[in-house]
């Protein structure tokens, strides 16, 4: 048995140049607040997104015809890991670049592609993910939001919840029951829904740390043209599974908390402490390993494979690592997690936000269930 077949990694020859480009861009934009750095892909900053778009660093793998840059998936991977490691504020466009744009390009009608994708590549059009509902969390196949035909149009009604970025987004791709009376993963379809459509309202949900990242989205008889149906009617479950692969496989699943490790190294530099050095080493070893695992998933995707199991393993390990880190740092360093020192502030922020890491994008239990299936246990 070999659970995770690793091949030697071939990094693109352009990697050093891309790294420099991103590092310069982030430095010029300014990124001094350590708490913001620990919140990278949840922090919207449209100005920064536009700069990235102008630099050709969004939609890197999309066709030029739609504003993309036709770079390789590994070149894109290099840019992503640089942005995350620097804690750059990429929240506004993150979802559009990671999944919505690619999904539109793969399944969308010509009209919808032209309408949304070029703006996404410019870093001006943002997206959100309409999967969860009040009664459908892990059990996603139980969604009840519905779409019914009305002439050529579709009428969508229901409610989505925990919708990250809905308050900044221009468009949502939602999983909806398009066949009345259908059950489970049958009769589901995906729809492209403009956030300014009449009948759609967004209400903020404030998280436990006072932040506003996610929302509830109400859909009251939202009328959509036939082109808003994404892909094939009734094929929603299959499409959403592919979408979740994109959502789960990226380096953000282990690189959300780099700011804490960096501040810990800074702190350890002023102390002559063997235990702090040992903690730094342990966390660095974990980071080094996860980086190889994550890059290996990226290179499999680049070769056209679907490493769904490996991606799930990396997300689960990454989440566990990022959740263990604040506790380990709190135990090792006598510092007030309410600040004012940078290490304390980052620690305090991550102590409060890290419980969500093993919820968003699929819970730990659901991921382990997928891994167990991969092992032939279910």
């Amino acid at each position: 048995m070999q659970t995770f077949v690793t091949e030697p990694l071939d990094w693109p020859a352009t990697a050093p140049e891309l790294r420099n480009q991103v590092r310069t861009l982030v430095a010029e934009h300014g990124n001094a607040d350590p708490v913001a750095r620990a919140n990278s892909w949840a922090k919207p900053d449209p100005e920064f997104s536009r700069k990235l778009g102008a630099a050709g660093l969004i939609g890197m793998i999309w066709p030029k015809e739609f504003g993309g840059h036709e770079r390789s998936p590994l070149e894109r991977y290099v840019v992503l890991e640089e942005l995350l490691a620097a804690g750059a504020p990429v929240g506004a466009h993150w979802i559009a670049d990671r999944q919505t744009g690619s999904l539109l390009l793969r399944y969308g009608s010509e009209e919808e592609k032209r309408r949304w994708v070029p703006g996404m590549a410019r870093g001006e059009v943002y997206a959100c993910i309409g999967l969860s509902e009040p009664n459908s969390g892990s059990d996603l196949a139980s969604v009840r939001t519905s779409a019914r035909r009305d002439g050529d149009d579709w009428i969508v009604s229901g409610q989505k919840v925990w919708t990250t970025n809905a308050h900044n987004a221009h468009v949502m791709i939602a999983l909806v029951r398009s066949e009345a009376g259908s059950e489970r993963n049958q009769g589901l379809s995906q729809f492209v829904i403009p956030m300014d459509a009449p009948g759609l309202t967004v209400n903020p949900i404030i998280d436990l740390a006072g932040g506003h990242d996610f929302n509830e989205v109400f859909l009251e008889d939202v009328r959509l043209p036939s082109t808003a149906l994404l892909g094939t009617e009734g094929n929603g479950w299959k499409q959403v599974t592919a979408e979740l692969s994109l959502e789960r496989s990226g380096p953000e699943r282990y690189l959300s908390s780099m700011a804490l490790l960096v501040e810990l190294i800074r702190f350890a530099g002023d102390k002559d402490s063997e235990s702090l050095r040992a903690l730094v080493a342990r966390l660095a070893a974990e980071t080094w390993t996860l980086r190889l695992m994550s890059a290996s998933v990226a290179s499999k995707i680049a070769r056209g494979e679907d490493p769904a199991l490996e991606a799930t393993i990396v997300k689960d390990l990454g989440n566990s690592f990022e959740q263990a880190m604040p506790e380990l740092v709190q135990a090792a360093v006598d510092i007030d997690p309410a600040g004012p020192e940078a290490l304390g502030l980052v620690l305090g922020h991550l102590l409060q936000t890290s419980p969500s890491f093993s919820l968003r994008g699929g819970t730990r239990e659901i991921l382990k269930g997928i891994i167990a299936r991969g092992l032939g246990l279910r």
């Binding site: 890991e81 640089e82 490790l261 501040e263 080493a281 070893a285 390993t289 689960d316």
Partner: protein, 322 residues
């Protein structure tokens, strides 16, 4: 894997399956010599395979996977470090004593089956390594937790040849590869057992708690395997101090979680001498200490990272790969 590597994997896999944990030097070493496996890393003009560290990883991982009872891994490393095609070499993890000129007086320990070996590569107290003839020292037999020979050598004015390479790091790299293999083997045993053993009228594998434990185990085995691959790939640069330290730390961590879950899933049967789980798990516990436990590698790695400073951490990490 390329075609040659697939051939190597098939050859070593078949050989190690037959030999297993109970292989004995006097009966079975000839099987290793027949295929000249100890020359895996020697250049072809010295009669070796001209293999890379990527090739070594394949063989070492399989040695761990099959809990091989012969010191093949150590012989490969010793031959590579000394470039000696003749005789059986081995390696040791620890040295106490002094070198003056070309002689050593003191004690070497953790020598992987020194008796019967022709030469041994041990850490040199002044840095690098030293090579000596086993016949020039007094061997004191000792075994690790798993019953593998880890002898002591008493040396009095024994002549040594000094080499630059750090056998301690190479030994750690080898153990990481073996740990990766042994964890995958223990995982496979646990998965098979969970599918076969019935309780409450169904296989253990149907219980979600068991599934989740095995999924956790699979993640750890995956991490150890990736760490081994990363360190082996880095060796193409000639040395890889960061990667070897990080890989040993990560693999050691996987040992704790993996062995605990392997035994938990197996219940009491896994705790018996008869059942073939312990050749894997006892080796894993022993290997976690050998060639540097966590504290040894954490201090080395932690010192380097902290000395380089916070602002260099990510840049250094990416510079390792490109």
């Amino acid at each position: 894997m390329n075609d040659e590597q697939r051939m190597l994997a098939d050859m070593a896999g078949d050989l190690f399956t037959n030999l297993g944990p109970d292989a004995a030097m006097k009966d079975h070493w000839s099987a290793i010599e027949e295929v000249a496996l100890t020359g895996l890393l020697l250049p072809e003009d010295k009669g070796g395979f001209g293999g890379s560290w990527g090739d070594a990883l394949i063989a070492f991982r399989l040695a761990g996977y099959h809990a091989l009872g012969l010191p093949v891994v150590e012989a490969v490393v010793a031959a590579a470090l000394t470039q000696r095609p003749e005789g059986r070499g081995t390696i040791a993890s620890r040295t106490e004593g002094t070198v003056s000129g070309v002689t050593f007086t003191g004690r070497i320990s953790g020598a992987c089956l020194a008796s019967g070996a022709d030469y041994i590569v041990a850490p040199c107290p002044e840095g690098g390594s030293m090579v000596l003839s086993v016949a020039d020292a007094k061997v004191e037999a000792h075994e690790n937790l798993a019953g593998e020979a880890r002898d002591g050598l008493v040396c009095t004015g024994t002549s040594v040849e000094r080499i630059e390479a750090d056998v301690f790091a190479f030994g750690a790299l080898a153990r990481v590869a073996q740990i990766a293999g042994a964890l995958d083997a223990a995982l496979e045993k646990a998965v098979n057992y969970a599918n076969e053993r019935q309780q409450f009228g169904r296989p253990l594998a149907k219980f979600q708690a068991v599934q989740q434990n095995l999924a956790t185990f699979a993640c750890e085995a995956a991490a150890a395997n990736c760490a081994a691959m990363g360190a082996a790939q880095a060796m193409s640069r000639g040395e890889a101090p960061f990667e070897i330290a990080a890989a040993k730390l990560r693999a050691n961590r996987a040992v704790g979680i993996g062995t605990a879950l392997a035994h938990q899933v197996h219940g009491a049967i896994g705790f018996t001498e008869e059942y073939p789980l312990h050749p894997l798990t006892r080796r894993l516990w022993a290997w976690r200490s050998e060639f540097g436990n966590d504290s040894v590698w954490a201090e080395k790695l932690g010192q380097t990272i902290v000395a380089r400073g916070a602002e260099n951490f990510w840049a250094d990490l990416t510079a390792l790969t490109g």
